[in-house]
């Protein structure tokens, strides 16, 4: 009896929380969304405007500080690019690594490796960030990026790899550090999936004379393909919303689209964190509202990518997703 009520409350709580969070965010973002209109998605300039002078700017009936513009396009591009780079690196590394681990390495060593995997997943993101700033960034700027610019950058059409290579804070650094954070998420999920592949199927394939890696290709991977896609979605969501590490290593460019793989970029999450205090100094409250609008855009992007991923999975087969089914 009591348990029933407790469970009911527990079941309602996430729904309530989600409604409250989305509701308050919509309420606070409303003014800025009306002010910006479609410019919110297409505008390249995001600025709180001149809080100390000039005549107020009025758009769509909403008043904001002089020259305030709330365009999230560059931040949207930065958010998507960094997370896609992270995913493109993390997915093959994680899946390949885990395949090797589960198929070829003795079980005793597997357990030791698993512990490391989980530890890697548990490292706070600020640690990755500080490591990126102090060690990875300078190393990239001095050695890796010049080498990249001298090799890939010389290939025609690959203009995005050409110099200048900058100072080590930018798109590729952010993507690489994010990939390190995403790898354990995809790897841990994939490992559990691979363990669920029936042994009989694999043994049957072996008995037919297949090599171990043919078994992986023909039996194991098709069996867990949807699960891996779902794991990749989880990792992507993590990369989209990651704040602290990106804040430290992305270069936090505002109002510019990246010109190369080395360019500083800004992401939505990092920009919200970096500029909130400044937004609080806007007496009209529009700056805070604009950050609320940015948060809504991020929420929208996360939901859209999640939904798109689900559609891909559903189209490829009707099987249920083992993970990432929430919402």
């Amino acid at each position: 009896m009591t348990l029933r009520w407790v469970s009911l409350v527990a079941a309602l709580l996430p729904i309530l929380l989600l409604c409250v969070i989305v509701g308050t965010m919509v309420a606070s973002a409303k003014a800025a969304v009306i002010y910006a209109g479609l410019h919110l998605f297409t505008g390249a300039i995001f600025t709180f405007g001149n809080l100390y002078g000039g005549s107020p700017s009025v758009h769509n009936g909403v008043t904001a500080p002089h020259n305030a513009q709330y365009g999230a396009a560059t931040l949207l591009v930065g958010t998507l690019l960094t997370s896609v780079i992270a995913l493109a690196i993390a997915l093959p590394v994680a899946v390949g690594g885990v395949l090797m681990l589960t198929e070829r390495i003795p079980p005793r060593l597997q357990n030791g490796f698993s512990v490391f995997l989980e530890l890697l997943a548990g490292i706070p993101s600020v640690v990755y960030g500080i490591w990126g700033v102090l060690i990875l960034g300078p190393f990239f700027a001095l050695h890796f990026f010049p080498a990249l610019a001298n090799s890939l950058g010389r290939i025609p059409f690959l203009t995005w790899f050409r110099p200048p290579v900058g100072a080590g804070e930018g798109l590729l650094t952010a993507g690489l550090v994010l990939s390190v954070m995403v790898i354990p998420i995809i790897a841990a999920t994939t490992r559990d999936l691979l363990r669920s592949v029936p042994v009989l199927h694999k043994e049957g394939a072996l008995a037919l004379g297949m090599t171990p890696f043919e078994v992986v290709r023909v039996v194991t991977l098709p069996f867990v393909r949807n699960g891996i896609l779902a794991a990749a979605l989880l990792g992507w969501a993590r990369a989209l919303g990651e704040t602290m590490a990106v804040l430290l290593i992305s270069g936090n460019a505002l109002n510019q689209f990246p010109q190369s793989i080395y360019s500083p970029v800004g992401t939505i999450a990092a920009t919200i964190a970096a500029t909130l205090d400044g937004a609080l100094t806007d007496g009209t409250g529009m700056a805070v509202s604009a950050l609320g609008a940015l948060a809504l855009v991020l929420l929208l992007v996360t939901l859209l990518t999640n939904w798109a991923g689900r559609m891909i999975v559903r189209r490829s087969s009707g099987a249920a997703l083992p993970v990432g089914r929430g919402f």
């Binding site: 029933r4 009911l8 079941a11 309602l12 729904i15 309530l16 409604c19 409250v20 509701g23 308050t24 919509v26 309420a27 606070s28 409303k30 300039i45 995001f46 600025t47 709180f48 001149n50 809080l51 100390y52 002078g53 500080p65 020259n67 102090l134 300078p138 200048p164 900058g166 100072a167 804070e169 804040l247 430290l248 270069g251 936090n252 460019a253 505002l254 109002n255 510019q256 500083p264 970096a274 500029t275 909130l276 205090d277 400044g278 937004a279 609080l280 100094t281 806007d282 007496g283 009209t284 409250g285």
Partner: protein, 379 residues
């Protein structure tokens, strides 16, 4: 109960609708409660130990916080019933939390803007000390460098990219400037240092003034190879680790600028002279502007006249509500502020020297006395 057991969805929908209704109701209320402005403030000069103990909460500027942390125990030993609890969080937090009565005192490196004065008519900004900012550079082999606000603005706009640019060389005859690319470093977090640095650039370069202008967060122009850092210690670290870099850093961390081996540039003031930040040059800037301090005490100290004046100087402010909830709290706040600006109280040489702040000159003290006296419990 039966509804719940038979139709769990009904309960969920009801709860969701209730939540949205609640939120919408909250959202439609005005976000900040404005205290009613008092048209005729009664001046109350009375200070002293309150009858019962009062705790004054402070939050805001991370430059002011270490100073107040040093002051807090001394305040309690002078006035046993007043406890000050300072915390950081940023100037924006200081202003908005003081405006919404979440805290008694808000620390800020920036003064209130016109829109904030309109939005929060009961809020005052009262200077308690003076700070400044230095331009640090990492140029191996160069120990003497002169710069102007105009050149800094061009560097941070990407118009001047090399250290041996003719414009820099012209100011530094005899200095062997390298041909290296300049790496400008800027703050990524909202910051009072960004506020005063961008104010300086706005005052000296019209393209900057018409473009990014000034604020605690500004729209930085894209500069190839620029770096970002968080906080003053982050700026020192980034400049230290990056040869050919330049950074704007608050004077309160001067000792770490020096121990990091960074050079500090002499800056051209409004009179055309090149000056370093010192007690004399900072005080000169304040003294020259003090006769113009408006009654609302919101004043920029950037690029002030005077042959001696250092160009990047600012007041450190306490944001405080004119009208307090009771007489005891009002008395405690008046007492704290009066003591904090007194050279035999909080503003003694040891406290100020610990963060390289400078005391308010006497002509400024005269102007802020009435503001402190206007803090009352009203009625």
């Amino acid at each position: 109960m039966n509804i719940v057991a038979r139709r769990p969805w009904a309960a969920i929908v009801v709860a969701a609708v209730a939540a949205i209704a609640m939120v919408t109701a909250c959202g439609s209320q005005p976000s900040a409660k404005k205290p009613t402005p008092k048209p005729s403030p009664t001046i109350n000069d009375q200070v002293g130990n309150p009858a019962s103990s009062v705790t004054l909460s402070e939050a805001g500027s991370s430059l002011v916080e270490p100073y107040l942390a040093a002051l807090a125990p001394q305040l309690t030993s002078a006035y046993s019933n007043i406890t000050l609890t300072p915390s950081a969080g940023g100037s924006g937090v200081g202003i908005s939390d003081a405006a919404t009565n979440l805290i008694d005192l808000g620390g800020s490196d920036a003064y209130l803007s016109d829109s904030e004065m309109t939005q929060y008519p009961g809020l005052m900004n009262i200077p308690i000390a003076i700070s400044a900012q230095e331009i640090a550079y990492n140029l191996p082999g160069v120990s003497d460098l002169k710069l102007s606000g105009n050149i800094l603005a061009e560097i941070y706009q990407g118009k001047i990219t090399k250290w041996n640019d003719p414009a820099i060389a012209k100011l530094n005859s005899g200095v062997n400037l390298p041909s290296a690319t300049i790496v400008p470093i800027r703050r990524v977090d909202s910051s009072g240092d960004t506020f005063i640095f961008s104010s300086f650039l706005s005052a000296t370069n019209s393209a900057w003034n018409n473009g990014p202008a000034f604020g605690t967060t500004v729209t930085w122009p894209a500069v190839t190879g620029e770096l970002t850092a968080t906080g003053n210690p982050g700026m020192v670290q980034a400049a230290h680790a990056t040869p050919d870099s330049i950074a704007y850093i608050g004077i309160s961390v001067k000792s770490s600028i020096q121990s990091a081996g960074l050079g500090i540039a002499e800056l051209q003031n409004k009179a055309g002279k090149f000056v370093s930040a010192s007690q004399a040059t900072i005080t000169s800037a304040v003294t020259n502007s003090a006769q113009d301090i408006p009654s609302n005490l919101a004043q920029s100290l950037i690029y002030e006249p005077g042959a001696q004046s250092y160009p990047i100087v600012n007041y450190e402010y306490m944001m405080v509500q004119k009208q307090q909830k009771d007489a005891n709290t009002a008395l405690a706040i008046r007492t704290f502020l009066t003591w904090a600006v007194d050279s035999s109280g909080g503003a003694n040489a040891t406290n100020l020297a610990s963060v390289n702040f400078i005391a308010l000159p006497s002509n400024v003290l005269l102007k802020i006395k009435p503001a402190i006296g206007s803090i009352t419990s009203g009625s």
